[in-house]
Protein backbone atom coordinates (compact mmCIF):
# COMPACT_ATOMS: atom_id res chain seq x y z
CA UNK A 1 0.00 0.00 0.00
CA UNK A 2 2.71 2.47 1.06
CA UNK A 3 4.89 1.23 -1.76
CA UNK A 4 2.13 1.93 -4.25
CA UNK A 5 1.66 5.40 -2.88
CA UNK A 6 5.41 6.02 -2.94
CA UNK A 7 5.75 4.80 -6.51
CA UNK A 8 2.74 6.83 -7.59
CA UNK A 9 4.19 9.91 -5.99
CA UNK A 10 7.55 9.34 -7.65
CA UNK A 11 5.94 8.90 -11.06
CA UNK A 12 3.97 12.08 -10.58
CA UNK A 13 7.26 13.96 -10.14
CA UNK A 14 8.98 12.09 -12.94
CA UNK A 15 11.35 14.88 -14.08
CA UNK A 16 12.98 15.78 -10.77
CA UNK A 17 13.05 12.17 -9.65
CA UNK A 18 14.51 11.16 -13.00
CA UNK A 19 17.30 13.68 -12.68
CA UNK A 20 18.11 12.47 -9.18
CA UNK A 21 18.16 8.86 -10.34
CA UNK A 22 20.44 9.86 -13.20
CA UNK A 23 22.83 11.63 -10.82
CA UNK A 24 22.98 8.59 -8.56
CA UNK A 25 23.35 6.23 -11.51
CA UNK A 26 26.24 8.23 -12.97
CA UNK A 27 28.00 8.47 -9.63
CA UNK A 28 27.60 4.74 -9.02
CA UNK A 29 28.81 3.98 -12.56
CA UNK A 30 31.82 6.21 -11.98
CA UNK A 31 32.64 4.58 -8.66
CA UNK A 32 32.32 1.05 -10.04
CA UNK A 33 34.17 2.06 -13.21
CA UNK A 34 37.09 3.45 -11.24
CA UNK A 35 37.16 0.24 -9.23
CA UNK A 36 37.14 -1.75 -12.48
CA UNK A 37 39.98 0.29 -13.99
CA UNK A 38 41.91 0.00 -10.75
CA UNK A 39 41.67 -3.80 -10.57
CA UNK A 40 42.24 -4.02 -14.32
CA UNK A 41 45.35 -1.84 -14.09
CA UNK A 42 46.62 -3.87 -11.17
CA UNK A 43 46.07 -7.14 -13.03
CA UNK A 44 47.59 -5.79 -16.27
CA UNK A 45 50.54 -4.56 -14.26
CA UNK A 46 51.02 -7.91 -12.57
CA UNK A 47 50.70 -9.54 -16.00
CA UNK A 48 53.57 -7.55 -17.48
CA UNK A 49 55.80 -10.56 -17.19
CA UNK A 50 54.79 -14.12 -16.53
CA UNK A 51 56.37 -17.48 -17.10
CA UNK A 52 59.75 -16.16 -15.96
CA UNK A 53 60.79 -17.65 -12.64
CA UNK A 54 63.72 -15.41 -11.82
CA UNK A 55 65.33 -12.25 -13.13
CA UNK A 56 69.06 -12.11 -12.54
CA UNK A 57 71.13 -8.94 -12.60
CA UNK A 58 73.78 -7.03 -10.75
CA UNK A 59 72.97 -6.56 -7.09
CA UNK A 60 70.85 -3.53 -6.41
CA UNK A 61 67.27 -3.65 -5.18
CA UNK A 62 64.57 -5.97 -6.42
CA UNK A 63 62.35 -3.10 -7.56
CA UNK A 64 65.22 -1.41 -9.37
CA UNK A 65 66.22 -4.59 -11.16
CA UNK A 66 62.62 -5.10 -12.20
CA UNK A 67 62.33 -1.49 -13.38
CA UNK A 68 65.31 -1.55 -15.67
CA UNK A 69 65.10 -5.12 -16.89
CA UNK A 70 61.35 -5.34 -17.53
CA UNK A 71 60.04 -1.78 -17.65
CA UNK A 72 63.21 -0.25 -19.13
CA UNK A 73 62.98 2.57 -16.62
CA UNK A 74 66.24 3.84 -15.19
CA UNK A 75 69.58 2.19 -15.65
CA UNK A 76 71.47 -0.75 -14.35
CA UNK A 77 73.96 0.04 -11.60
CA UNK A 78 76.24 -2.65 -12.93
CA UNK A 79 76.30 -5.29 -15.58
CA UNK A 80 76.36 -9.01 -15.26
CA UNK A 81 79.69 -10.27 -16.55
CA UNK A 82 79.61 -12.92 -19.25
CA UNK A 83 81.49 -15.41 -17.08
CA UNK A 84 78.98 -15.05 -14.24
CA UNK A 85 76.19 -15.35 -16.79
CA UNK A 86 77.74 -18.59 -18.02
CA UNK A 87 78.08 -19.85 -14.45
CA UNK A 88 74.42 -19.18 -13.77
CA UNK A 89 73.38 -20.62 -17.13
CA UNK A 90 75.24 -23.86 -16.48
CA UNK A 91 73.47 -24.58 -13.21
CA UNK A 92 71.42 -27.78 -13.39
CA UNK A 93 68.20 -26.17 -12.09
CA UNK A 94 67.92 -23.91 -15.11
CA UNK A 95 65.58 -24.85 -17.94
CA UNK A 96 66.25 -21.78 -20.06
CA UNK A 97 67.99 -18.46 -19.74
CA UNK A 98 67.58 -15.42 -21.95
CA UNK A 99 70.12 -12.60 -21.67
CA UNK A 100 69.14 -8.99 -22.21
CA UNK A 101 71.49 -6.14 -22.94
CA UNK A 102 70.34 -2.53 -22.69
CA UNK A 103 72.02 0.82 -23.11
CA UNK A 104 71.48 2.01 -26.67
CA UNK A 105 68.47 3.73 -28.09
CA UNK A 106 66.61 4.52 -31.26
CA UNK A 107 64.79 7.89 -31.24
CA UNK A 108 62.87 7.84 -27.95
CA UNK A 109 62.83 4.06 -27.70
CA UNK A 110 65.23 1.75 -25.93
CA UNK A 111 67.18 -0.86 -27.82
CA UNK A 112 67.40 -4.27 -26.23
CA UNK A 113 69.85 -6.93 -27.30
CA UNK A 114 68.72 -10.48 -26.67
CA UNK A 115 68.58 -13.92 -28.23
CA UNK A 116 65.78 -15.03 -30.60
CA UNK A 117 64.60 -17.30 -27.78
CA UNK A 118 63.28 -14.19 -26.03
CA UNK A 119 60.18 -14.26 -28.23
CA UNK A 120 59.28 -17.77 -27.09
CA UNK A 121 60.11 -17.24 -23.44
CA UNK A 122 58.77 -13.81 -22.63
CA UNK A 123 55.14 -14.24 -21.64
CA UNK A 124 52.59 -11.72 -20.48
CA UNK A 125 48.97 -11.75 -19.29
CA UNK A 126 49.11 -15.21 -17.70
CA UNK A 127 51.15 -17.07 -20.23
CA UNK A 128 50.29 -15.28 -23.47
CA UNK A 129 53.15 -15.27 -25.97
CA UNK A 130 54.38 -12.35 -28.02
CA UNK A 131 53.12 -12.57 -31.57
CA UNK A 132 54.37 -11.08 -34.78
CA UNK A 133 51.90 -8.70 -36.43
CA UNK A 134 54.07 -8.58 -39.50
CA UNK A 135 57.34 -10.13 -40.65
CA UNK A 136 59.34 -12.70 -38.72
CA UNK A 137 61.96 -13.22 -36.05
CA UNK A 138 65.52 -11.97 -36.46
CA UNK A 139 67.65 -14.22 -38.64
CA UNK A 140 70.47 -11.98 -39.83
CA UNK A 141 73.01 -10.30 -37.54
CA UNK A 142 71.61 -6.86 -38.38
CA UNK A 143 67.93 -7.77 -38.19
CA UNK A 144 65.70 -6.04 -35.69
CA UNK A 145 62.20 -6.65 -34.39
CA UNK A 146 60.25 -3.64 -33.16
CA UNK A 147 57.35 -3.28 -30.74
CA UNK A 148 53.90 -2.11 -31.81
CA UNK A 149 54.29 1.39 -30.36
CA UNK A 150 57.64 1.88 -32.07
CA UNK A 151 56.14 0.95 -35.42
CA UNK A 152 53.05 3.11 -34.90
CA UNK A 153 54.90 6.19 -33.62
CA UNK A 154 57.67 6.20 -36.20
CA UNK A 155 55.55 4.73 -39.00
CA UNK A 156 57.95 1.89 -39.68
CA UNK A 157 57.32 -1.13 -41.86
CA UNK A 158 59.03 -4.46 -42.32
CA UNK A 159 62.16 -3.98 -44.44
CA UNK A 160 62.80 -0.38 -43.37
CA UNK A 161 66.39 0.40 -42.34
CA UNK A 162 67.00 1.96 -38.93
CA UNK A 163 70.11 3.33 -37.23
CA UNK A 164 70.69 2.78 -33.54
CA UNK A 165 72.08 5.64 -31.43
CA UNK A 166 74.82 5.10 -28.92
CA UNK A 167 73.60 5.59 -25.36
CA UNK A 168 70.21 6.89 -24.35
CA UNK A 169 70.18 10.58 -25.21
CA UNK A 170 73.10 11.02 -27.51
CA UNK A 171 73.66 12.27 -31.00
CA UNK A 172 76.30 9.75 -31.92
CA UNK A 173 74.78 7.05 -34.00
CA UNK A 174 75.95 3.67 -35.13
CA UNK A 175 75.63 4.81 -38.75
CA UNK A 176 78.07 2.31 -40.14
CA UNK A 177 75.93 -0.63 -39.12
CA UNK A 178 72.29 0.03 -40.03
CA UNK A 179 69.64 -2.50 -39.04
CA UNK A 180 66.80 -3.83 -41.13
CA UNK A 181 63.36 -4.35 -39.58
CA UNK A 182 62.52 -8.03 -39.93
CA UNK A 183 59.38 -8.09 -37.84
CA UNK A 184 56.82 -5.97 -36.00
CA UNK A 185 55.16 -7.29 -32.87
CA UNK A 186 51.52 -7.21 -31.89
CA UNK A 187 50.44 -4.81 -29.18
CA UNK A 188 50.97 -6.42 -25.79
CA UNK A 189 50.39 -3.62 -23.31
CA UNK A 190 53.83 -4.32 -21.89
CA UNK A 191 57.10 -2.37 -22.24
CA UNK A 192 57.96 -4.68 -25.18
CA UNK A 193 55.72 -2.41 -27.27
CA UNK A 194 58.18 0.41 -26.82
CA UNK A 195 61.33 -1.58 -27.45
CA UNK A 196 63.59 -2.08 -30.44
CA UNK A 197 64.88 -5.63 -30.17
CA UNK A 198 68.15 -6.68 -31.78
CA UNK A 199 70.39 -9.71 -31.44
CA UNK A 200 72.82 -9.87 -28.53
CA UNK A 201 75.68 -10.26 -31.02
CA UNK A 202 74.50 -7.21 -32.92
CA UNK A 203 75.01 -5.11 -29.78
CA UNK A 204 78.65 -6.24 -29.84
CA UNK A 205 78.86 -5.74 -33.59
CA UNK A 206 77.87 -2.07 -33.50
CA UNK A 207 80.44 -1.42 -30.78
CA UNK A 208 83.37 -3.05 -32.54
CA UNK A 209 85.02 0.28 -33.37
CA UNK A 210 84.11 1.85 -30.05
CA UNK A 211 86.35 2.22 -27.10
CA UNK A 212 85.68 3.89 -23.77
CA UNK A 213 82.24 4.94 -24.92
CA UNK A 214 83.40 6.78 -28.05
CA UNK A 215 84.05 5.81 -31.62
CA UNK A 216 87.71 5.45 -32.44
CA UNK A 217 88.54 8.16 -34.97
CA UNK A 218 88.90 7.01 -38.54
CA UNK A 219 88.47 3.37 -37.66
CA UNK A 220 85.69 1.56 -39.43
CA UNK A 221 85.74 -2.16 -39.59
CA UNK A 222 83.94 -3.34 -42.72
CA UNK A 223 80.68 -5.18 -42.05
CA UNK A 224 82.02 -8.30 -43.75
CA UNK A 225 84.82 -8.46 -41.21
CA UNK A 226 82.40 -7.84 -38.34
CA UNK A 227 80.18 -10.65 -39.53
CA UNK A 228 83.08 -13.06 -39.26
CA UNK A 229 83.96 -11.98 -35.71
CA UNK A 230 82.96 -14.07 -32.72
CA UNK A 231 81.14 -11.13 -31.13
CA UNK A 232 80.88 -12.63 -27.72
CA UNK A 233 79.57 -10.10 -25.20
CA UNK A 234 81.70 -9.25 -22.18
CA UNK A 235 78.64 -8.51 -20.12
CA UNK A 236 74.88 -8.40 -20.28
CA UNK A 237 72.45 -6.23 -18.34
CA UNK A 238 70.24 -8.94 -16.91
CA UNK A 239 68.90 -12.39 -17.64
CA UNK A 240 65.46 -13.94 -17.54
CA UNK A 241 65.53 -17.42 -16.12
CA UNK A 242 63.11 -20.30 -16.35
CA UNK A 243 63.48 -23.16 -13.97
CA UNK A 244 63.24 -26.91 -14.43
CA UNK A 245 61.41 -27.69 -11.22
CA UNK A 246 59.50 -25.00 -9.37
CA UNK A 247 60.43 -26.47 -6.01
CA UNK A 248 64.03 -25.41 -6.67
CA UNK A 249 63.31 -21.74 -7.28
CA UNK A 250 64.20 -20.55 -3.80
CA UNK A 251 67.32 -22.67 -3.65
CA UNK A 252 68.56 -21.27 -6.95
CA UNK A 253 67.65 -17.75 -5.90
CA UNK A 254 69.68 -18.11 -2.73
CA UNK A 255 72.61 -19.67 -4.59
CA UNK A 256 72.69 -16.75 -7.04
CA UNK A 257 72.36 -14.18 -4.27
CA UNK A 258 75.29 -15.77 -2.47
CA UNK A 259 77.42 -16.16 -5.61
CA UNK A 260 80.78 -14.98 -4.36
CA UNK A 261 82.63 -13.97 -7.54
CA UNK A 262 80.28 -11.14 -8.31
CA UNK A 263 77.47 -9.52 -6.34
CA UNK A 264 74.38 -10.77 -8.13
CA UNK A 265 70.69 -10.49 -7.40
CA UNK A 266 67.96 -12.90 -8.40
CA UNK A 267 64.39 -11.75 -7.94
CA UNK A 268 60.99 -13.37 -8.24
CA UNK A 269 59.20 -11.12 -10.77
CA UNK A 270 55.80 -11.55 -9.10
CA UNK A 271 57.06 -10.47 -5.70
CA UNK A 272 58.98 -7.51 -7.13
CA UNK A 273 55.91 -6.41 -9.12
CA UNK A 274 53.93 -6.55 -5.91
CA UNK A 275 56.50 -4.39 -4.11
CA UNK A 276 56.45 -1.92 -6.97
CA UNK A 277 52.66 -1.78 -6.95
CA UNK A 278 52.71 -1.00 -3.23
CA UNK A 279 54.72 2.10 -4.08
CA UNK A 280 52.62 3.35 -6.96
CA UNK A 281 49.36 1.95 -5.60
CA UNK A 282 48.82 5.03 -3.41
CA UNK A 283 47.25 6.68 -6.44
CA UNK A 284 44.52 4.06 -6.42
CA UNK A 285 43.46 5.13 -2.93
CA UNK A 286 43.16 8.70 -4.19
CA UNK A 287 41.03 7.54 -7.13
CA UNK A 288 38.66 5.63 -4.88
CA UNK A 289 38.47 8.62 -2.56
CA UNK A 290 37.47 10.97 -5.37
CA UNK A 291 34.82 8.65 -6.75
CA UNK A 292 33.41 8.06 -3.25
CA UNK A 293 33.06 11.85 -2.96
CA UNK A 294 31.03 11.86 -6.16
CA UNK A 295 28.65 9.24 -4.75
CA UNK A 296 28.26 11.25 -1.55
CA UNK A 297 27.55 14.39 -3.59
CA UNK A 298 24.82 12.58 -5.51
CA UNK A 299 23.24 11.36 -2.29
CA UNK A 300 23.27 14.86 -0.82
CA UNK A 301 21.62 16.02 -4.05
CA UNK A 302 18.90 13.47 -3.46
CA UNK A 303 18.45 14.70 0.09
CA UNK A 304 18.12 18.27 -1.16
CA UNK A 305 15.58 17.11 -3.70
CA UNK A 306 13.42 15.49 -1.02
CA UNK A 307 13.71 18.53 1.21
CA UNK A 308 12.59 20.90 -1.50
CA UNK A 309 9.76 18.59 -2.46
CA UNK A 310 8.40 18.73 1.06
CA UNK A 311 7.05 22.22 0.57
CA UNK A 312 5.21 21.46 -2.63
CA UNK A 313 3.87 18.27 -1.15
CA UNK A 314 2.38 19.83 1.99
CA UNK A 315 -1.13 19.43 0.60
CA UNK A 316 -0.47 15.85 -0.40
CA UNK A 317 0.72 15.09 3.11
CA UNK A 318 -2.27 16.90 4.60
CA UNK A 319 -4.65 14.85 2.51
CA UNK A 320 -2.95 11.65 3.58
CA UNK A 321 -3.31 12.73 7.18
CA UNK A 322 -6.95 13.66 6.68
CA UNK A 323 -7.57 10.27 5.14
CA UNK A 324 -6.31 8.72 8.34
CA UNK A 325 -2.67 8.08 7.57
CA UNK A 326 -0.58 8.23 10.71
CA UNK A 327 2.56 10.43 10.81
CA UNK A 328 4.58 7.24 10.86
CA UNK A 329 3.18 6.35 7.44
CA UNK A 330 4.37 9.69 6.07
CA UNK A 331 7.83 9.01 7.49
CA UNK A 332 7.88 5.53 6.04
CA UNK A 333 6.70 6.70 2.66
CA UNK A 334 9.45 9.31 2.29
CA UNK A 335 12.16 6.85 3.32
CA UNK A 336 10.74 4.26 0.95
CA UNK A 337 10.79 6.79 -1.87
CA UNK A 338 14.45 7.47 -1.24
CA UNK A 339 15.22 3.75 -1.15
CA UNK A 340 13.40 3.24 -4.46
CA UNK A 341 15.27 6.15 -6.08
CA UNK A 342 18.62 4.83 -4.85
CA UNK A 343 17.89 1.25 -5.88
CA UNK A 344 16.90 2.25 -9.39
CA UNK A 345 19.92 4.57 -9.55
CA UNK A 346 22.29 1.86 -8.33
CA UNK A 347 21.02 -0.77 -10.75
CA UNK A 348 21.07 1.73 -13.60
CA UNK A 349 24.60 2.70 -12.59
CA UNK A 350 25.73 -0.91 -12.68
CA UNK A 351 24.17 -1.33 -16.12
CA UNK A 352 25.80 1.91 -17.32
CA UNK A 353 29.18 0.73 -16.08
CA UNK A 354 28.89 -2.57 -17.94
CA UNK A 355 27.74 -0.79 -21.06
CA UNK A 356 30.75 1.51 -20.74
CA UNK A 357 33.15 -1.38 -20.23
CA UNK A 358 31.61 -3.23 -23.17
CA UNK A 359 32.08 -0.26 -25.48
CA UNK A 360 35.46 0.91 -24.16
CA UNK A 361 37.08 -2.49 -23.65
CA UNK A 362 38.62 -2.97 -27.12
CA UNK A 363 39.56 0.72 -27.39
CA UNK A 364 41.32 0.79 -24.02
CA UNK A 365 43.05 -2.49 -24.74
CA UNK A 366 44.39 -1.25 -28.07
CA UNK A 367 45.31 2.23 -26.82
CA UNK A 368 46.72 1.54 -23.39
CA UNK A 369 47.13 -2.22 -23.30
CA UNK A 370 44.83 -2.25 -20.31
CA UNK A 371 42.42 -5.14 -20.21
CA UNK A 372 39.16 -4.51 -18.35
CA UNK A 373 37.51 -7.84 -17.63
CA UNK A 374 33.71 -7.75 -18.15
CA UNK A 375 33.01 -10.41 -15.57
CA UNK A 376 29.78 -10.85 -13.62
CA UNK A 377 29.46 -8.37 -10.76
CA UNK A 378 31.58 -9.37 -7.81
CA UNK A 379 30.44 -9.51 -4.21
CA UNK A 380 32.31 -6.26 -3.65
CA UNK A 381 30.31 -4.49 -6.31
CA UNK A 382 27.06 -5.69 -4.75
CA UNK A 383 28.30 -4.45 -1.40
CA UNK A 384 28.93 -1.04 -2.97
CA UNK A 385 25.39 -1.00 -4.34
CA UNK A 386 23.99 -2.02 -0.97
CA UNK A 387 26.04 0.70 0.71
CA UNK A 388 24.64 3.32 -1.67
CA UNK A 389 21.06 2.22 -0.95
CA UNK A 390 21.60 2.16 2.81
CA UNK A 391 23.31 5.56 2.66
CA UNK A 392 20.36 6.96 0.75
CA UNK A 393 17.96 5.67 3.39
CA UNK A 394 20.01 7.32 6.10
CA UNK A 395 20.17 10.54 4.08
CA UNK A 396 16.40 10.55 3.66
CA UNK A 397 15.72 10.22 7.38
CA UNK A 398 16.36 13.90 7.95
CA UNK A 399 13.79 15.26 5.48
CA UNK A 400 11.42 12.43 6.44
CA UNK A 401 11.57 13.42 10.10
CA UNK A 402 10.85 16.98 9.15
CA UNK A 403 7.81 15.87 7.18
CA UNK A 404 6.78 13.71 10.14
CA UNK A 405 6.85 16.70 12.45
CA UNK A 406 5.23 19.12 10.04
CA UNK A 407 2.46 16.78 9.04
CA UNK A 408 1.11 16.78 12.58
CA UNK A 409 -0.05 20.38 12.52
CA UNK A 410 0.80 21.74 9.12
CA UNK A 411 -0.99 21.16 5.88
CA UNK A 412 -4.55 21.77 6.93
CA UNK A 413 -3.57 25.33 7.73
CA UNK A 414 -2.10 26.00 4.34
CA UNK A 415 -3.21 29.28 2.99
CA UNK A 416 -2.99 29.66 -0.71
Amino acid sequence: MILRLALGSLIARATTVGMTILAIALSVALFLGVEKVRTGAKASFADTISGTDLIVGARSGSVQLLLYSVFRIGNATNNLTWSSYQDVASRPEIAWIVPISLGDSHKQFRVMGTTPEFFNRYKYRSGQSIEFADGKNMSDLFDTVIGADVAATLNYHVGDPIVVAHGLASFTEHKDQPFKISGILNKTGTPVDRTVIVGLRAIEAIHVDWQEGAQVQGQTTPIDVIRKMKLQPKAVTAALVGIENRLQVFGLQRAINKYNKEPLLAILPGVALQELWQIIGIAEVALIGVSAMVVITALIGMMAMIFSSLNERRREMAIFRAMGARPRVILGMLILEAAVIATIGAILGLALMYLGVYIAQPIIDAEFGLWLPSKAPTLNEFLVLAAVIIASIIASVLPALRAYRLSLADGMLVRI
Binding site: R59, N245, R246, L247, V249, E262, P263, E275
Partner: protein, 196 residues
Protein backbone atom coordinates in the same frame (compact mmCIF):
# COMPACT_ATOMS: atom_id res chain seq x y z
CA UNK B 1 64.01 -4.38 19.88
CA UNK B 2 64.99 -4.56 16.29
CA UNK B 3 68.57 -4.77 15.24
CA UNK B 4 68.99 -4.42 11.53
CA UNK B 5 72.28 -5.19 9.95
CA UNK B 6 72.33 -4.48 6.29
CA UNK B 7 75.90 -5.09 5.37
CA UNK B 8 76.20 -6.49 1.91
CA UNK B 9 79.11 -6.85 -0.42
CA UNK B 10 81.67 -5.28 1.88
CA UNK B 11 85.15 -6.55 1.23
CA UNK B 12 86.89 -7.09 4.51
CA UNK B 13 90.53 -6.28 4.21
CA UNK B 14 91.50 -7.60 7.65
CA UNK B 15 92.22 -11.10 6.37
CA UNK B 16 94.67 -11.18 3.48
CA UNK B 17 93.43 -14.57 2.33
CA UNK B 18 89.95 -13.15 1.89
CA UNK B 19 91.03 -9.96 0.20
CA UNK B 20 90.26 -11.17 -3.28
CA UNK B 21 86.86 -12.58 -2.47
CA UNK B 22 83.93 -10.48 -1.54
CA UNK B 23 82.45 -11.03 1.86
CA UNK B 24 78.74 -10.65 2.06
CA UNK B 25 76.30 -10.67 4.91
CA UNK B 26 72.62 -11.27 4.54
CA UNK B 27 70.16 -8.84 6.02
CA UNK B 28 69.38 -9.97 9.53
CA UNK B 29 66.49 -8.56 11.50
CA UNK B 30 65.59 -9.89 14.90
CA UNK B 31 61.94 -10.85 15.17
CA UNK B 32 61.55 -11.33 11.45
CA UNK B 33 61.98 -14.66 9.72
CA UNK B 34 61.51 -15.71 6.10
CA UNK B 35 59.37 -18.53 4.88
CA UNK B 36 59.37 -19.62 1.25
CA UNK B 37 56.74 -21.98 -0.04
CA UNK B 38 56.67 -23.51 -3.51
CA UNK B 39 53.68 -25.51 -4.72
CA UNK B 40 54.13 -27.84 -7.64
CA UNK B 41 51.54 -30.46 -8.50
CA UNK B 42 51.15 -32.35 -5.23
CA UNK B 43 54.51 -31.36 -3.76
CA UNK B 44 55.12 -28.52 -1.35
CA UNK B 45 58.65 -27.31 -0.66
CA UNK B 46 59.13 -25.01 2.31
CA UNK B 47 62.16 -23.15 3.56
CA UNK B 48 62.33 -21.35 6.85
CA UNK B 49 65.03 -18.89 7.85
CA UNK B 50 64.73 -17.47 11.32
CA UNK B 51 67.20 -15.48 13.41
CA UNK B 52 68.60 -17.36 16.40
CA UNK B 53 67.16 -14.64 18.62
CA UNK B 54 63.64 -15.56 17.49
CA UNK B 55 64.01 -19.26 18.11
CA UNK B 56 66.19 -19.68 21.20
CA UNK B 57 66.53 -16.08 22.36
CA UNK B 58 70.31 -15.77 21.92
CA UNK B 59 72.80 -15.69 19.08
CA UNK B 60 76.14 -16.13 20.84
CA UNK B 61 78.01 -19.37 20.44
CA UNK B 62 76.35 -21.71 22.90
CA UNK B 63 78.74 -23.25 25.39
CA UNK B 64 76.71 -23.99 28.51
CA UNK B 65 74.69 -27.17 28.71
CA UNK B 66 71.49 -25.16 29.06
CA UNK B 67 72.13 -23.26 25.82
CA UNK B 68 73.17 -26.38 23.95
CA UNK B 69 70.06 -28.17 25.13
CA UNK B 70 67.94 -25.19 24.02
CA UNK B 71 69.44 -25.39 20.53
CA UNK B 72 68.88 -29.14 20.35
CA UNK B 73 65.28 -28.74 21.44
CA UNK B 74 64.74 -25.97 18.90
CA UNK B 75 66.18 -28.08 16.09
CA UNK B 76 63.87 -30.88 17.18
CA UNK B 77 60.84 -28.57 17.06
CA UNK B 78 61.90 -27.10 13.72
CA UNK B 79 62.10 -30.59 12.25
CA UNK B 80 58.35 -30.98 12.57
CA UNK B 81 56.81 -28.67 9.94
CA UNK B 82 53.26 -29.86 10.53
CA UNK B 83 53.54 -28.76 14.16
CA UNK B 84 54.76 -25.26 13.21
CA UNK B 85 52.49 -24.66 10.26
CA UNK B 86 49.03 -26.10 10.59
CA UNK B 87 47.69 -27.17 7.21
CA UNK B 88 44.03 -27.98 6.53
CA UNK B 89 43.13 -31.60 7.33
CA UNK B 90 41.46 -31.97 3.95
CA UNK B 91 44.72 -31.35 2.10
CA UNK B 92 46.09 -34.51 3.77
CA UNK B 93 49.75 -33.64 3.71
CA UNK B 94 52.58 -35.84 4.84
CA UNK B 95 56.20 -34.91 5.46
CA UNK B 96 58.68 -36.48 3.09
CA UNK B 97 61.83 -34.78 4.31
CA UNK B 98 62.52 -32.25 7.04
CA UNK B 99 65.92 -30.82 7.96
CA UNK B 100 66.79 -28.11 10.41
CA UNK B 101 70.19 -26.65 11.20
CA UNK B 102 71.80 -23.72 12.89
CA UNK B 103 73.98 -21.52 10.68
CA UNK B 104 76.37 -18.87 11.80
CA UNK B 105 76.88 -15.78 9.73
CA UNK B 106 80.65 -16.06 10.01
CA UNK B 107 80.76 -18.95 7.63
CA UNK B 108 78.15 -20.42 5.38
CA UNK B 109 79.47 -23.90 5.87
CA UNK B 110 79.54 -24.11 9.65
CA UNK B 111 76.45 -25.89 10.71
CA UNK B 112 77.12 -25.39 14.36
CA UNK B 113 78.47 -22.09 15.44
CA UNK B 114 79.68 -23.40 18.77
CA UNK B 115 82.02 -25.84 17.10
CA UNK B 116 83.15 -23.45 14.42
CA UNK B 117 84.45 -20.80 16.74
CA UNK B 118 87.36 -22.79 18.06
CA UNK B 119 88.64 -23.71 14.63
CA UNK B 120 89.01 -20.18 13.40
CA UNK B 121 92.41 -18.64 13.01
CA UNK B 122 93.58 -15.50 14.78
CA UNK B 123 92.76 -13.04 12.00
CA UNK B 124 89.32 -14.45 11.71
CA UNK B 125 88.64 -13.70 15.33
CA UNK B 126 89.38 -10.02 14.87
CA UNK B 127 86.53 -9.75 12.42
CA UNK B 128 84.15 -11.39 14.80
CA UNK B 129 84.90 -8.94 17.54
CA UNK B 130 83.90 -6.02 15.36
CA UNK B 131 80.74 -7.49 13.94
CA UNK B 132 79.00 -9.80 16.39
CA UNK B 133 78.19 -13.03 14.57
CA UNK B 134 74.49 -13.52 14.12
CA UNK B 135 73.10 -17.00 13.90
CA UNK B 136 70.19 -18.22 11.89
CA UNK B 137 68.13 -21.35 11.98
CA UNK B 138 67.49 -22.81 8.55
CA UNK B 139 64.94 -25.48 7.92
CA UNK B 140 63.87 -27.16 4.71
CA UNK B 141 60.80 -29.29 4.28
CA UNK B 142 59.31 -31.29 1.48
CA UNK B 143 55.68 -32.27 1.84
CA UNK B 144 53.35 -34.28 -0.29
CA UNK B 145 49.68 -33.40 -0.25
CA UNK B 146 46.95 -35.60 -1.69
CA UNK B 147 44.55 -32.67 -2.19
CA UNK B 148 46.53 -29.54 -2.77
CA UNK B 149 43.36 -27.77 -3.89
CA UNK B 150 42.13 -28.01 -0.30
CA UNK B 151 45.10 -25.99 0.88
CA UNK B 152 42.99 -22.94 1.71
CA UNK B 153 45.06 -21.52 4.55
CA UNK B 154 48.07 -22.06 6.75
CA UNK B 155 47.82 -21.29 10.46
CA UNK B 156 51.10 -20.42 12.11
CA UNK B 157 51.49 -22.01 15.50
CA UNK B 158 55.12 -21.04 14.91
CA UNK B 159 54.41 -17.81 16.79
CA UNK B 160 52.99 -19.65 19.80
CA UNK B 161 55.98 -21.99 19.93
CA UNK B 162 58.57 -19.22 19.53
CA UNK B 163 57.47 -16.20 21.58
CA UNK B 164 60.35 -14.04 20.32
CA UNK B 165 59.25 -14.32 16.69
CA UNK B 166 57.19 -11.33 15.58
CA UNK B 167 56.85 -11.63 11.85
CA UNK B 168 57.37 -13.97 8.93
CA UNK B 169 57.93 -12.70 5.43
CA UNK B 170 56.29 -15.34 3.28
CA UNK B 171 56.90 -15.85 -0.43
CA UNK B 172 54.66 -18.27 -2.25
CA UNK B 173 55.15 -19.71 -5.73
CA UNK B 174 52.39 -21.57 -7.50
CA UNK B 175 51.12 -22.01 -11.05
CA UNK B 176 49.91 -18.42 -10.87
CA UNK B 177 53.38 -17.05 -10.17
CA UNK B 178 55.03 -15.60 -7.11
CA UNK B 179 53.40 -13.56 -4.38
CA UNK B 180 54.59 -12.20 -1.09
CA UNK B 181 52.79 -11.90 2.23
CA UNK B 182 53.65 -10.60 5.65
CA UNK B 183 52.39 -12.72 8.48
CA UNK B 184 52.43 -11.06 11.87
CA UNK B 185 52.04 -12.47 15.31
CA UNK B 186 48.51 -11.08 15.88
CA UNK B 187 47.11 -12.44 12.61
CA UNK B 188 48.98 -15.70 12.31
CA UNK B 189 47.12 -17.01 9.31
CA UNK B 190 47.93 -17.09 5.61
CA UNK B 191 44.98 -17.15 3.23
CA UNK B 192 45.90 -19.24 0.21
CA UNK B 193 42.67 -19.03 -1.71
CA UNK B 194 43.36 -17.52 -5.09
CA UNK B 195 46.86 -18.98 -5.20
CA UNK B 196 45.83 -22.05 -7.14
Amino acid sequence: MKIVHLIAGIALSATPSLAEETTQLDAHEHGVGQLNIAFDENKVAMELHAPGADIVGFEYGAKSDVDLAAIDAALQTLSDPLGLFLLPEAASCIVITAHAKLESEDSDHDDHDEEGHDDHDEEGHDDHDEAPGHTEFHAEYLLECANLTEMSAITFSYFEIFPNALELEVQVISDKGATAFEIERDVAKLDLRGIF
